[in-house]
């Protein structure tokens, strides 16, 4: 296990931290929140800057115009984005859609889609959930083969960045009982978006597919019997969300630490009270563990480690629990000011709730982890 970061990785970290602090401070979320219709334009503008640094192609092989920097690199950027809760398409388009195409796509599909993703010209997302929590309902959407291509029918929910993207990878059942992913363009007939605004102001959407007709080559991986790679999708999303959660939790912790040193009551900084010091020290210890498991999960993905699903579940369950704990404590330790909308700390609590539910709650991942460890 490579615990030291390479010089290249360290440079990437510095560049990413710099970028988000300067360009996407927490207040960016207020802009997004005040006018959800501007979200696509705001993000696409940001995405061009990120693409110029190569981040849109961070996972994509060099042959398709990417940087091939791997999940350790992507995780670093997401951790830095977590510091300012920056909304980016990194999760939906890079960690999910991009890695799905790279893993199960046919050569022709990779040729067609990966360079456009790497250059930042195209944004995609994945549409797979149908229930009211991750994995709670099995897929009901149907793909019926027709003379030329497929007819898609069904409903999808919690489609991340759905209002922003050019296309969707939609999971659907075939009459054979197998499942497959289909690329559906945003403008395709029969596709309806039902946008909603999330807790933290970002938009997402539900998707309605009414007899959407797609050509045969839109089926990812062609006629392969099992082309779903759902474990890989869950692992990469979990590891990347964990990286973002770790970055955000650390930031919330640092803000709280600074506040405890500065806020004076009873004539002394409240950080001098042992009851508060111990809570901070406990959180700090937990954050140390989080840093380790995030790095382990990202490295396992890069190495195609056979244990990568267990590491990803560990990272997701652990960082979600710790981020939620830190965010709740951050509000409590900030006192009244922490309850105001004006203060940024509330956004961290909201993000903690969102990231905890996306791609499996801690209980979901503890169950999966136990299964993978045979108990």
């Amino acid at each position: 296990m490579q615990w030291e970061w390479s010089d290249e990785e360290k440079m990437l970290r510095t560049a990413a931290e710099d970028f988000f602090r300067k360009k996407v401070p927490v207040n960016f979320l207020r802009e997004v929140r005040s006018d959800p219709n501007r979200y696509p334009d705001l993000i696409r503008e940001l995405w061009q800057d990120m693409a110029n640094m190569g981040w849109s192609g961070i996972l994509i092989p060099e042959a398709y115009g990417g940087l091939a920097f791997g999940f350790r690199g992507l995780g670093m950027i997401m951790e830095a984005a977590g510091h300012t809760l920056a909304p980016t398409p990194l999760l939906a388009s890079v960690a999910c859609a991009g890695s799905l195409i790279e893993t199960i796509g046919l050569d022709s599909q990779k040729q067609e889609m990966l360079p456009a993703l790497a250059e930042g010209r195209t944004l995609l997302t994945v549409a797979h959930e149908e229930g009211d929590r991750f994995g709670s309902k099995s897929c009901k959407a149907r793909a019926t083969p027709e003379r030329e291509g497929y007819k898609l029918q069904g409903e999808k929910t919690m489609v991340i960045d759905g209002t922003l993207v050019d296309g969707f990878l939609v999971l659907a059942n075939l009459p054979t009982g197998d499942q497959a992913w289909f690329l559906v363009a945003r403008r395709d007939d029969g596709l309806e978006l039902k946008p909603f605004q999330l807790l933290d102001g970002r938009p997402a959407c539900k998707l309605s597919l009414r007899d959407v007709r797609v050509p045969a080559q839109s089926r990812l991986g062609g006629e392969a019997a099992d082309g779903t790679a759902q474990d890989l999708l869950l692992d990469s999303a979990s590891a990347c969300l964990s990286a973002e959660m770790f970055g955000a939790a650390r930031e919330a912790f640092q803000m709280t630490l600074a506040y405890l040193k500065q806020r004076v009551q009873f004539g002394v900084p409240i950080g001098s009270f042992q009851a508060l010091q111990h809570r901070m020290a406990q959180m700090y210890s937990e954050l140390e563990l989080c840093q380790t498991v995030v790095q382990r999960a990202l490295t396992a993905l890069d190495q195609r480690d056979p244990q990568r699903s267990a590491w990803a579940s560990l990272a997701k369950a652990k960082t979600a629990e710790v981020f939620q704990h830190v965010a709740r404590e951050a509000i409590q330790l900030h006192g009244g000011i922490g309850m105001t909308d004006e203060h940024p700390i509330g956004f961290f609590l909201k993000r903690a709730r969102i990231n905890t539910e996306w791609y499996g709650s801690p209980a979901f991942h503890r169950d999966r982890y136990a299964r993978l460890h045979g108990f």
């Binding site: 020290a281 210890s285 136990a370």
Partner: protein, 389 residues
């Protein structure tokens, strides 16, 4: 170069480590050495002697003090090869773990020459005299007095929680040498021979039963003034250094490599349904523990790797002590719960394993007290790492 060294080590261990010394050990198999050493077997004696001759009871100490004179890389190879072969540690020793590093750093040449070789050869067994009845977490409040009279120090007072004091030959002690000074500034680090009429050691019985802990009483005990380590009234810095070593030792206790995994133990006790532990609530908590344990082990590994790569050691010993001992307590709670009624039997019909389990469960409660309580570790993290006032 190192490859040659590794091959030599492999050959030497294969030829010199007796077969019975390559099997898992229990507490009864531990060799502590001392003036009246006891060995669980002839092989254990032979194994210790062979290792001591090479200086490999203390591989990294200089040869002139009885060590092996190995570089850190060579010592790591020796440890790896011993682990690969399943070799038992030939010797457990507070002299090696605690006093040795102190003497190497703070001792005079004469002290190093006279005290280190007997530690390396297991001839003298050392005890640690730190805590006192009124000085636990507030260690610097210690009251055991040492007064200079002629060429000697005269010691009066008592120490408590002194592991194996009743079986030790010498004791390294924190003593008050200046009662007028601020409490940290009047403490010295003194070496005292325990074989004298003024010293008495009495064992302490714990909630888990018999224990290695003792109370030690000093009544006009004497030690020559040249057994003072470091400057007079300069013992506190040494004490803090030593506690760091101790914390690291305690945080790595717990799972031995050959131990049955916790999930296997629980599966045996609770049963499985469709490949899952029969009790879903318990299973969720076990999974959470398993994750935390893995995260902790990996964090130890990460810290060790970063230190090897030349990063200065982080302020991690308090974090490790706190997290490690709390995890160990949680483990025993899960095991007791999984054992159900079986865990309740103190004596009589229970299996030996269950009788041992409930004693270990009780004993684990001390993990977050000894070597600095969890609360003290949290204080240290808050003040030294987080910079809180």
């Amino acid at each position: 170069m190192l490859d040659t060294f590794r091959r030599e080590i492999q050959a030497w261990l294969a030829a010199n480590c007796p077969a019975s010394m390559r099997t898992p050990m229990t507490e009864d198999d531990i060799v502590w050495g001392g003036r009246n050493p006891s060995f669980p077997s002839q092989d254990a004696k032979v194994w210790l002697e062979r290792m001591a001759v090479r200086g490999w009871t203390v591989p990294e100490w200089p040869q002139e003090y009885g060590g092996g004179g190995l570089s850190p890389e060579e010592a790591r190879i020796l440890r790896e090869e011993m682990q690969r072969l399943g070799c038992r540690p030939p010797l457990y020793s507070f002299g090696i773990w605690m006093l040795g590093p102190v003497l190497l750093r703070y001792g005079t040449e004469a002290q190093k020459k006279s005290f280190l070789p007997p530690i390396a050869r297991a001839e003298i067994r050392w005890a640690q005299g730190y805590s006192e009845p009124d000085a636990g977490s507030d260690l610097a409040h210690l009251q055991t007095r040492a007064e200079k009279r002629g060429d000697d120090f005269i010691i009066n007072g008592s120490k408590v929680w002194t592991s194996y004091a009743d079986e030790s030959d010498w004791i390294f002690c924190l003593v008050r040498t200046d009662p007028q000074a601020l409490k940290q500034k009047g403490i010295s680090f003194l070496l005292i021979d325990m074989k004298q009429p003024g010293i008495k050691a009495e064992p302490i019985r714990l909630i888990s039963g018999a224990s290695p802990f003792c109370e030690v009483f000093f009544k006009d005990a004497r030690t020559p003034a040249h057994n003072l380590v470091g400057p007079l009234n300069g013992g506190w810095q040494i004490a803090k250094d030593l506690l760091t070593h101790e914390r690291q030792a305690i945080s790595t206790i717990g799972q031995k490599p050959d131990e049955q995994s916790l999930e296997a133990f629980c599966a045996e006790k609770l049963g499985m349904i469709d490949g899952q532990l029969a009790d879903p609530g318990f299973r969720d908590r076990l999974s959470a523990w398993h994750m935390d344990h893995a995260a902790f082990q990996l964090t130890l590994e990460r810290e060790a790797a970063l230190q090897r790569a030349g990063h200065s050691p982080g302020p991690t010993s308090s974090i490790f002590k706190y997290v490690g001992s709390e995890l160990n307590k949680r483990k025993f709670e899960l095991m007791m719960e999984a054992s159900g009624f079986g865990s309740l039997i103190w004596e009589g019909t229970g299996s030996a394993r269950e009788l041992q389990l409930n004693r270990e469960w009780l004993r684990s409660k001390g993990n977050s007290i000894e070597g600095g309580t969890s609360e003290i570790q949290l204080n240290v993290i808050a003040k030294r790492v987080l910079g809180l006032p």
